[in-house]
């Protein structure tokens, strides 16, 4: 884990209000794993005060990539960064996806900017794995489909692909899927993850979910990011014990 003063190489708007940022951050890039995140200081002043957590979208050589939606002030400031600005990045944080084990097919389920960790995940998967992706978005303009393979799409408003949410889309296809050993990797808004979770628990699917919640430190010192565990009577911490959990391990 490092605190690295990274140099911004580019910031582009790749969909409505959604940006792709790349920054030269060799130390973090050299050790990061798919599913980990970084906690980024978006300004050089003490305002906004806290860092902002973002999944590592991808890594190419010494460069880190992030995709983000402009949400509030922090992401607005980030979207206004320019080439050669420095960015104070703390990472890599969290435990990432577990890619090891006995499965043939990696099933990616992403809601909205839940696609963020999967470009990197796909690159990290062994070549012998098959891959299918289910991608949901609110509407066509908000679709971010970067680096996914064998994609089926769902939009809430039906403006592209299946009309409805991505978990419903997945449900339609599980029969087909279940011919092979598969593992689901999922990321997206909480309501989507909840629905997916109950599907997986009911059917005993192997599933890893990446979770977002409010964070201050991002590395376990503030206790600000608890999540109820099914196994432990104490809370787990999303930043340190997650952000990736087995779908049956935590209460959403």
């Amino acid at each position: 884990m490092f605190i690295e003063k990274a140099v911004v190489r580019s910031v582009e708007e790749i969909a409505e209000g959604i940006f792709l940022l790349s920054a030269h951050s060799p130390s973090i890039a050299s050790i990061a794993k798919a599913g980990q995140f970084c906690n980024i200081k978006v300004s050089e002043t003490d305002f906004p005060l806290l860092r902002r957590p973002f999944s590592i979208f991808n890594i190419k050589g010494d460069f880190l990539f992030f995709v983000f939606d402009t949400h509030g002030l922090g992401t607005k400031i980030l979207s206004a960064k320019r080439k050669n600005d420095t960015l104070d990045i703390l990472g890599p944080l969290g435990n990432g996806f577990d890619l090891t084990g006995d499965y043939q097919t990696a099933v990616i389920v992403a809601g909205g900017l839940g696609v963020a960790p999967f470009s990197f995940l796909i690159r990290s998967l062994q070549d012998d794995k098959e891959m299918v992706s289910y991608l949901g978005a609110r509407t066509k303009k908000k679709i971010v489909n970067l680096g996914l393979k064998n994609v089926s799409m769902a939009t809430d408003d039906g403006s592209y692909g299946f009309k409805g949410n991505v978990v419903d889309l997945l449900k339609k296809e599980t029969l087909e899927l279940s011919k092979k050993k598969f593992r689901i990797f999922a990321c997206g808004p909480n309501p989507m993850l909840k629905e997916l979770q109950s599907l997986c628990i009911k059917n005993n699917y192997d599933c890893q979910i990446s979770i977002e919640c409010a964070m201050a430190c991002g590395f376990g010192i503030c206790q600000g990011c608890p999540i109820e565990s099914y196994e432990d009577k104490n809370y787990l911490l999303v930043c340190k014990d997650g952000p990736v959990f087995n779908a049956n391990a935590v209460k959403l």
Binding site: L49, I221, G224
Partner: protein, 305 residues
């Protein structure tokens, strides 16, 4: 060797320099040590410990506010026993002063915790948290009542020879009355301030952003209040003060010492820059060097009014 003597003595507690990391913002030291060299600091204060483990409050526990943050962690901690077993081995080797912070829901529990922990050599002093705004029992019910603070101080002091620092609540009209009570009962120092009670609501759901409804406000937003409280104590009571609240950099640390603090604690800044403590120590050295200040302790309470 530095040309500046950074060591300070806070009510009998010797520190190699006046920069401490505050309770609840450094865990038990292990995570933050990946980002900073703890041995360069004056010391660290553990997350508040209670007799039994506490699960803490349900999420959401934190929210950002203008130049500050609210937290309602609810004293989540592993309890005294697990602390001794699981955390002390690491803490033995960090080569900085360890202060144990204790929070409890009864006077007996404060006493009991202190009794158990005082046998552990690694622990050099206790900070007694009577001012957590985020728990039902104990917390402000204690910290805003001068008689309870008096009683806790007396009873805790009776069971240990180690320095006792009472961590005061800022949510009172006259904090110096509390410092007086601490002094009268034999407390060695006070630390000020803990967080201010605050809240924040979502205007669309009309629900509190923090599940506990209210939380404790920390960060630069509260620095002016913290400085005023420390100054009030300094001008009214002769007791060493550990200054806390909104310190982000060495200039803030100097300001806190000028108004009366013998040492300072860093809280929220650790979340943003976990190496802030070390940077602040370096900043204090140059400040002193540039002004030919030989001993850092000279600046404590050196305000010109």
């Amino acid at each position: 060797m530095n040309s500046v003597d950074l060591s300070v003595n806070v009510g009998g507690l010797k520190l190699k320099n006046p920069v401490l990391l505050a309770s609840g913002t450094v865990g038990y030291g292990n995570e933050i040590s990946q980002f900073t060299d703890l041995s360069k600091l004056g010391g660290i204060v553990t997350k508040s410990l209670s007799l039994k483990p506490r699960k803490g409050n349900p999420p959401q526990r934190i929210v950002e506010t203008p130049s500050g943050m609210l937290n309602a962690i609810g004293l989540a901690n592993i309890g005294v026993e697990a602390f001794l077993k699981e955390k002390i081995p690491f803490l033995k080797n960090i080569n900085t002063t360890l202060i144990c912070n204790i929070a409890a829901s009864s006077i007996e529990e404060y006493v009991e915790c202190t009794k158990i922990l005082t046998n552990e050599d690694t622990i050099k002093a206790f900070e007694i948290n009577v001012s957590c705004p985020n728990v039902k029992e104990g917390g402000l019910e204690f910290g805003n009542n001068v008689n309870t603070v008096r009683k806790i101080t007396a009873e805790v002091c009776a069971v240990t020879d180690k320095p006792i620092i009472i961590k005061l609540s800022p949510n009172v009209s006259q904090i110096s009355e509390f410092a007086k009570a601490v002094k009268a009962e034999g407390g060695d120092a006070v630390s000020a301030i803990n967080t201010l009670v605050g809240t924040s609501f979502n205007i669309f759901t009309r629900k509190p952003k923090i599940k506990n409804i209210t939380g404790g406000l920390s960060g630069p937003a509260i620095k002016p209040v913290a400085l005023a409280k420390v100054l009030e104590i300094k001008r009214n009571v002769d007791i060493p003060i550990v200054g806390i609240g909104g310190i982000m950099n060495w200039m803030d640390a100097v300001e806190m010492m000028i108004v009366g603090a013998s040492a300072v604690q860093l809280g929220t800044v650790n979340f943003i820059n976990p190496n802030a403590g070390v940077e602040i120590v370096e900043g204090l050295i140059s400040y002193c060097e540039q002004r030919s200040i030989k001993k850092i302790s000279e600046i404590s309470g050196s305000f010109q009014i």
